[in-house]
């Protein structure tokens, strides 16, 4: 579906991409990883038809550069850095929906699912996009990318600014598109995206240094029931737990809640900061058919 054939890009004397050959099929969820300057953003911009380059990039046999509107109509893109647009959120949604030929209601619905308040008097619909918080901007850009029938989703650090609750919904949204779309998720770190993908491509100095299929064991909609017991109540720990929507029994000692399957590494990373405080921790995958108790729902 997506083909990179001997793609190279040079800025002045710096060769940022050096002979990239890749084929990515429909339904693949690819992590594009690599350190700063590895060429991830340049590769994405070539895929979006924004850069001139050597070699050939095609999506379903068409060039994103020469066949712009047709090809880009099937790509949803979430950039790493939100653009500093001054227009109100409502207008941005209308603008993107008009260009993409989609129903703005779909974008509004996804934005609402991600937790954006678009309806109240103090909601974000009338606020300037540039004045939103980082998390709000990211939710909105995700909503615009997913609020249409995109066959390719290009996501550059998409979950970086999202809170755990929004991430959980984001994973659900991706799961809904898993069969019908190809996903290219860029990140500096593999642990941020490893549970979302079934293929990992690592770039270094403009070359593919790793292209590996990974076990697709973690369902995007999977859930883990979690219980944590701490030695003593701690305000900082309670605050961290509140972010993950965990609740305690009232004494601040035993906390329970659930974690989205693809978010398990991030959750454990957070928990590791309190390792001296934690006396007991358990994570149990929930079988959606049986429920957490193990009895059929």
């Amino acid at each position: 579906m997506i083909k990179f054939q001997n793609v190279a890009k040079t800025f002045r004397r710096a060769r940022v991409l050096d002979g990239i050959d890749l084929e990515i099929a429909l339904g693949e969820r690819v992590a594009l990883i690599g350190s700063n300057g590895a060429g991830k953003t340049t590769l994405i911009r070539c895929l979006l038809g924004e850069y001139n380059h050597e070699g050939v990039v095609t999506i379903d046999g068409r060039s994103p550069r020469t066949d712009r509107t047709a090809v880009l109509g099937s790509i949803g893109f979430v950039p790493q850095l939100p653009p500093p647009l001054k227009m109100p959120v409502g207008q941005l949604i209308e603008f993107a929906a008009s260009l993409c030929g989609s129903d703005p209601k779909r974008i509004f619905d996804i934005a609402r699912r991600l937790g954006l308040d678009l309806d109240s008097a103090n909601g974000v619909a009338g606020r300037q996009f540039v004045r939103l918080s980082g998390g709000m901007k990211q939710k909105l850009l995700i909503a615009i990318a997913l609020g249409r029938d995109a066959k390719v989703l290009v996501l550059d650090e998409p979950a970086a600014n999202l809170d755990p609750e929004a991430r959980k919904i984001f994973f659900e949204l991706l799961a809904e598109r898993a069969e019908s779309a190809t996903m290219l998720i860029s990140s500096h770190r593999l642990d941020e995206v490893s549970t979302l993908v079934n293929r990992v491509i690592e770039l270094d100095l403009g070359k593919v240094v790793l292209d590996d299929r990974v076990a697709d064991d973690v369902a995007l909609t999977g859930r883990l029931d979690c219980r944590i017991v701490v030695k003593r109540p701690e305000a900082a720990f309670a605050k961290a737990m509140a972010v993950w929507k965990f609740t305690d029994r009232g004494d601040g000692l035993e906390w329970t809640g659930d974690v989205a399957g693809p978010d398990r590494l991030r959750f454990m990373g957070m928990a590791s900061r309190y390792v001296a405080l934690i006396s007991d921790i358990s994570l149990r995958e929930v079988d959606e058919k049986l429920g957490a108790s193990g009895t059929p729902n």
């Binding site: 924004e50 509107t69 880009l72 950039p79 260009l99």
Partner: protein, 275 residues
């Protein structure tokens, strides 16, 4: 066509919220207000009184301010948008490059022309209320002159934006272009002629090729048909075009310059890296 209008609308919405636009509107509205406030309609210069006197002064001030304002704000916002990642995101949406570039020009043209025109319309409305005679011919020609001036410098600004890869470079280039055009105004040309280093024909050709000078001469021609203040260059201009011919030339030539610059800018934009 829909993409072009959407892009134009986007640019208008973005510009209306930008600080430069507020300052820009304030400057031109303020000029007219100040001219009224200082009783310019009552003063008499070269036999002109009333709104004619105000319009003559307004067009001279506009010619001094508008080109540099349009150049700097255009290159700042276009190159600035590219640097800030606006292009990266918006050009990932399914919009053709032609619709994007020309839509941006259209939107920007509306926001740079309307405040200047609105200030003139405001002056006319005030004159009608105060019972001051309105010189409709002069108002019409000056409106056309301002419309052409805006188009000319917008086209040059878009060309600079397409060439320069950073805001600083674009701003520097815009300032240099304006300074060059300013240096080749008639006074300096006449000085060069007097020194005998350049043939008078070359000097006059340079003056006629300079859009700033073309506007200046056209504005002068309306109240000084013999172009006495221009000295010897006036003979060449009037022999070549005649008074009416020159007025038409002053509308056609800068439009062609602006369109040619914008078209070249589009070709460069289309062929280069977008963000």
């Amino acid at each position: 066509m829909k993409q072009l209008w959407l892009t134009a609308k986007l640019d208008i919405v973005e510009s209306l919220r930008a600080r430069w636009f507020q300052i820009y509107t304030l400057v031109f509205g303020g000029i007219v207000a100040l001219l009224f406030l200082f009783g310019l309609t009552e003063s008499r210069v070269l036999g002109f009184i009333g709104l004619s006197r105000l319009l003559v002064t307004y067009i001279q001030l506009t010619m001094a301010i508008l080109p540099i304002f349009v150049l700097i704000t255009t290159v700042r916002s276009v190159a600035g948008d590219r640097e800030a990642g606006v292009f990266e995101y918006l050009l990932s949406l399914p919009v053709s490059l032609g619709a994007w570039f020309w839509g941006k020009i259209l939107g920007r043209y509306v926001v740079i022309f309307l405040p200047v025109f609105a200030a003139m319309v405001g002056a006319v409305i005030w004159a009608l209320i105060a019972g001051i005679e309105v010189p409709w011919g002069m108002f019409g020609y000056y409106t056309a002159l301002i419309a052409v001036m805006a188009a000319c410098f917008l086209g040059i600004g878009m060309l600079i934006s397409a060439v320069a890869r950073s805001t600083d470079m674009a701003q520097g280039a815009a300032f240099l272009v304006w300074l060059t055009l300013l240096l080749f105004l008639d006074l300096i040309l006449l000085g060069v002629m007097i020194q005998g280093k350049v043939a008078p024909e070359v000097a006059v050709t340079l003056a006629l090729a300079n859009p700033l000078q073309v506007f200046r001469t056209a504005a002068l021609a309306l109240f000084d048909p013999q172009l006495i203040v221009l000295g010897p260059s006036a003979y060449v201009i009037l022999d070549l075009f005649g008074a009416t011919g020159y007025q038409i030339f002053a509308l056609v030539y800068p439009t062609v310059v602006g369109l040619a610059a914008a078209t070249l800018g589009y070709q460069l934009f289309r062929r280069g890296d977008l963000p």
